[in-house]
Subunit: 367 residues, 2 copies
């Protein structure tokens, strides 16, 4: 038995959120389980759903290792399934295996640095399935901390695009860590990529990393830029982590403008060209707005990592995992703005900052 602190998130039906470091006894691992002493875990947007989404951080009650705050009513209602049920936080991270079950795979990892996806990565210790751990070899825990969510997601986009017969994709909020990975993967795989960013610095960053097509949504001629990039690449599939507002709509309308320009005869129903956008995040929690301006040949769909992985066969999964490990310092490298301890991640300054999910300003938790 090992004792350590881990972060717990509890939401009550009346809308009070408590984030608290709690002492917990971790049982000795059995079978193919390993106990990992966590050393580094990124704060991804998907982790923030349990920590900051809809939370009144400005007026919260902060004390060492504890935050109590109010959550906006619609988001309280939307999370009815977790009312009163304590949730662990932190999808992924890396650390050192300090105990192992007697299974062969677990024993083989004893003493090694590994990346893992325990679901309670913001913790001093985590029990993980040896089969899901990635041995990091010479890589540091910081280098390996983000070796699951972003790498598998960006590889998943390219795999999804290929599977559905596409030669190019659009990516919104493209200067993120994930977006930079996607930019490198697309260059390696010869997949066309239209990067949509909202600042000139972000455009420069991606162009410096070899991006051929970058359009800036803050420019006055944004839609004209987007139409030209779609025409140049043939991108009729896109991935949008913003979700709310009009980004998905703008992409579909721009795709249709490219397709309609090729029509020889007018069709009141729009072009035959299938147009598709996947929403894989909700950086903007306002509703998605879809205008009737691109006929009926379109699809908007949610995209999530786990269902995608479940749809892959084993050779594909093993291939993706090997590609990630061999590219941790290059294709799949992540960068972090700040490093915080478990206590520091619960301070007002830190929370107000990482809750913004600003592009390229990711936090790393070092328990």
């Amino acid at each position: 038995m090992t004792t350590g602190r881990q972060l717990i998130s509890t939401l009550t039906a009346d809308g009070q959120l408590t984030l608290e470091l709690e002492e917990k006894d971790f049982p000795d691992p059995t079978g193919n389980q390993v106990l990992v002493k966590m050393e580094a875990a990124p704060i991804n947007p998907s982790d923030l759903i349990l920590m900051t989404t809809g939370v009144d951080l400005a007026n919260a009650d902060y004390s060492p290792g504890k935050v109590v705050a109010k959550v906006a009513p619609p988001l309280v209602a939307a999370q009815a399934g977790r009312h009163g049920k304590p949730q662990t936080v932190g999808n992924e991270g890396a650390g050192v295996v300090v105990a192992a079950g007697d299974g062969e795979m677990a024993q083989a990892l004893m003493g090694q640095r590994v990346a893992c996806v325990p679901g309670n990565a913001y913790s001093e210790y985590a029990l993980a399935d040896a089969m899901m751990c990635i041995p990091l070899g010479d890589h540091t825990c910081e280098e390996g901390a983000s070796s699951f969510v972003n790498p598998m997601t960006s590889l998943g986009f390219v795999e999804t695009a290929k599977r559905e017969g596409n030669e190019a994709i659009i990516h919104a909020a493209a200067a993120s860590n994930l977006g930079q990975m996607l930019n490198r993967i697309c260059q390696e795989d010869d997949m066309g990529l239209v990067n949509v960013v909202r600042k000139k610095e972000q455009a420069d960053l991606l162009k410096g990393q070899g991006a051929a097509h970058v359009v800036n949504s803050s420019d006055e001629d944004f839609e004209a830029q987007l139409v030209k990039a779609i025409a140049d690449t043939g991108a009729f599939l896109g991935f949008d982590p913003i979700g709310g507002g009009r980004m998905t709509d703008t992409c579909l309308r721009s795709m249709e403008r490219v397709a309609a320009a090729k029509l020889t005869e007018y069709s009141r129903y729009g072009s035959d060209q299938p147009k598709k956008m996947y929403i894989y995040g909700r950086l903007d929690m306002s509703p998605t707005i879809l205008t009737p301006s691109y006929g009926f040949g379109w699809t908007v769909s949610g995209w999530l990592l786990m269902p995608f992985l479940n749809s892959c066969d084993m050779p594909t999964l093993i291939g993706m995992r090997q590609r990630v490990v061999s590219g941790l310092k290059t294709t799949f490298a992540s960068s972090y703005k700040s490093r915080v301890s478990l206590e520091e991640m619960l301070t007002k300054d830190a929370m107000m900052d990482y809750a913004q999910m600003a592009t390229g300003e990711k936090y790393l938790v070092t328990p």
Copy 2:
């Protein structure tokens, strides 16, 4: 050569719409073409795109056989492909074959009543492909006028649902002619159906036709009714002809509530249950609003008849067509509120009325 009047719709780039009956010479049919003397043609919502959508009918200039009106700027822009290009109007109808090409199929139809899909059904005559004509036998032209769009669309919904592995579907605006057909088909095929209507009379109408599940969107407990009907039927696929506003959103959220109630463990990403809505019309031209309240396991997609038919193999198509002909007086019967001549369909009273696309108040044009 035969001469007759047909309706022409012309939109200019500066937003002026002209609907006018024009004298036209119809050439003698060749090969497997037939010339049909049109006797009855329905005004479907899909026809109104070229006639009333976004059109200022209240302030239009009406003269016998001619209407000149202004179109709202966003809809002028959305139809750039037809600026200055005269369009014929009227997808489908029925009439008598008065001339035939020398092809065998065409000759066999000579003198017969047929249903056809000429694209210029609001006309005294129409040239049609014999292969696309349905011989009506003992049926009148009025009985056969709507034997393509609504029957094939409602059969297409059930075929789509089966193909995607569903046992039940939701249908919005369910008291329409199309909705009543769908209600009959679903009962024949043992496919679960949740009918969504907005008036008590419409609910009573469908219940009188054997519908097991009818929910009224005007009731205060609409969402609770919908959730219960989804739970009872297992309908996680829906078809929405409204398009704009929140109907599709409400259906997806209700599906998720049913799926979430079965979860044993909380998931921040929502349930694994795939939820899908097809938008097949735009009775409401305002934007579709999608709120972030049903995770990421959802899809919203356009649905159109012609791409669907193109996706079917020949035996399926022939089977659907035979089913329609044998059920023209029963399953696929249509009803009409008013009958108008070509001149009458261009009067202010008629246009202001059918432009509303009120449920169950369809017009029939009798050239």
